[in-house]
């Protein structure tokens, strides 16, 4: 028993220090590309930390989104950036910048050290035991329609959080779309390896997304994780030069994007009119209602994430008008 505790502490210590070291290197190493790769590794270590903290739902979301999609977004932006600025900007800082301007560094550093010390003090003065809302969640779990407490909180107890969160996703996409267009045209065919990989992996990813969606009712998983996996499938397709058919990008794409929030709002209004409370599910039907909401949310989240990766509002290419 003693040896096991020691081993756990060793693991926790290494993980914590590894996280801090990777974050520090990602912020200080002179090459941007290296920084992004370090950040992706940081995301994977974060997923391990979530597992250590008994938060497998968060770990799944982090592994798919924090490490996967954010990394893909950063690398894609880096590639576009080096097209615009050439490699000048991305190389280690120029000599003028290399001169350490002392006051530019130690001022924020000392201030932040003080802030950090204050926050450490606050954390350490918290009571070592606090149940938070876990008792309330556990006692109401029977009426929520699902047995995974995180899904119960996300879709039932605090359903409006999820509703607003889907609106935020949509708003981010609208922001990206309002900044420019992307022409939808098939680029050069991908290499054989990428093409085969995409053909094998995409159906598998869709299957995994469906599984995560279904299993979310009683085990780690759910709409966000499933949507993230679906988004990853979309990113893989986009990377292997697949583009949606020109007819699909007009209203079918937009319909899929708003389907999740729209069904959510419709259900909220209907429940408000019949039960008098926003998103208060009747316990008997809660399970099936949550499954419907999660299914449409998964599709919308997945497609929104893939559209965010594409960047810019998709537009018909010149040859396809």
């Amino acid at each position: 028993m003693e040896a096991l505790t020691l081993l756990e502490w060793g693991f926790d210590g290494l993980l914590g220090l590894g996280l801090l070291w990777l974050a520090w290197r990602a912020l200080t190493c002179p090459e941007l590309f290296k920084a992004i790769v370090l950040f992706i590794a940081f995301g994977l270590l974060m997923a391990l930390a979530w597992v250590r903290l008994d938060a497998p739902d968060v770990a799944l979301a982090e592994a798919a989104i924090g490490a996967g999609l954010t990394g893909a977004l950063l690398l894609a932006a880096f590639a576009k950036l080096s097209l615009v600025t050439g490699h000048e900007e991305l190389k280690p800082a120029r000599s003028e910048k290399n001169r350490i301007r002392f006051q530019h560094y130690w001022m924020p550093a000392t201030t932040l050290l003080l802030v950090t010390a204050g926050l450490f003090y606050v954390i350490l003065s918290l009571p070592p035991y606090a149940a938070g809302l876990s008792v309330e969640v556990a006692s109401n779990l029977d009426t929520s329609g699902v047995s995974n407490p995180v899904t119960a909180v996300l879709l039932n107890f605090r359903g409006y959080d999820t509703l607003l969160e889907m609106v935020v996703l949509l708003l981010a996409l609208l922001g990206v779309w309002s900044l420019g267009d992307t022409t939808i045209h098939r680029e050069a065919a991908p290499g054989l390896v990428l093409d085969t990989l995409a053909r094998v992996l995409v159906p598998l990813l869709i299957l995994v997304a469906a599984y995560l969606l279904w299993v979310g009712a009683h085990a780690p998983g759910g709409a966000f994780q499933a949507g993230a996996v679906l988004g990853a499938a979309g990113v893989l397709l986009l990377l292997s030069s697949w583009r949606p058919h020109a007819d699909l990008i007009a209203w079918p794409l937009r319909l899929m994007l708003v389907l999740g929030p729209a069904i959510f709002v419709i259900m909220a209004v209907l429940l408000y009119l019949t039960k008098g409370q926003l998103l208060e599910f009747p316990p008997a039907q809660a399970g099936i209602l949550i499954l419907i909401l999660e299914a449409v949310a998964t599709v919308s989240i997945g497609i929104t994430l893939a559209a965010l990766f594409l960047g810019g509002r998709p537009r018909r290419g010149k040859g396809q008008a």
Binding site: L53, L133, D161, G311
Partner: protein
Amino acid sequence: MSAPFFYALVGIGLFSLGLYGLIVHAHLLRKILALNIMGSGIFLVLVALAKRTGEAPPDAVPHAMVITGVVVAVSATALALTLMLKLTAETGRAELPEKGRE
């Protein structure tokens, strides 16, 4: 010190590192990385403090909030990256103009 507090302190450390990077770096891509690291630090504090339940399963409410936060963070990152590319296309530099250096 128990494991939840250790991870909460690591979270604070990440938050401070991220904030430092956000202040001292001029390049916008680096600032976006720093913001993401700050966010991860805050998530770590939230989830770590949710585990202060002893032997009982941890509090699910912060977990749900963090999942929501992770998804919001990725959408905000996508928007920020697009804004950065747009700025770079306009000015040729992925940095904000500095006062006194124009």
